[in-house]
Point group: C2
């Protein structure tokens, strides 16, 4: 696994991972969409549209659109908040967890190859 990465090695790792991801995954998420997805899965819930927007410094429609797209892909789901029905709670899905699990494994694998 990667030990003491230099900036050059870090870019090499990014290169390996993005390249492989482009080749093998037909979904081709935007950088923004990926950031949103990671935020949802790595930060403790609950997640709302407004919260994600302010956290990432983008407008609300950007979040709505990203959730539409990733919802169609099965990576996330949305539910109304029953305690405050103005809010929408973003939920994780099994497919989304699998997607990120595969990404994590890819990074490790490439990182290992990188420093090997």
């Amino acid at each position: 696994m990667p030990v003491d990465l230099t900036p050059s090695q870090a870019l090499g790792l990014w290169h390996e991972v993005t390249s492989q991801q482009v080749q093998q995954d037909g979904r081709d998420l935007t950088l923004r969409q990926l950031a949103i997805l990671l935020e949802i899965y790595l930060v403790p819930p609950p997640h709302t549209v407004r919260g994600l927007a302010s956290k990432l410094g983008v407008t609300k429609p950007v979040i709505t659109r990203a959730l539409d797209t990733m919802g169609d892909l099965g990576l996330v789901t949305r539910m109304r908040d029953d305690r405050d029905r103005r809010n929408v709670i973003i939920k994780r899905t099994v497919d989304g967890a699998l997607y990120l699990e595969r990404l994590g494994d890819l990074i490790i694998a490439r990182g290992r190859a990188q420093t090997a």
Copy 2:
């Protein structure tokens, strides 16, 4: 610096970097564009449209479009190959090198914060 990354930490690193990149950089390159840019800067030249297309498993118009966009952003340049004027040689630029240098530093900085 990152030592012995677990898959979870790897995703955390990706999260930090994509998130910060989304927030601070207005350019918002596609994952494909980023992969192309990294290929150009990290793999020894010469680079051609056809070569990049086959290397990344995409069609030639994808490369042409990406080079158009990144050319407008000043990240790459193109020149005709004088020895075989059918070819186009993709050249690096100072701005492109700076862009990736900043990305590399960002990864290191976030990786350090990640494991700190």
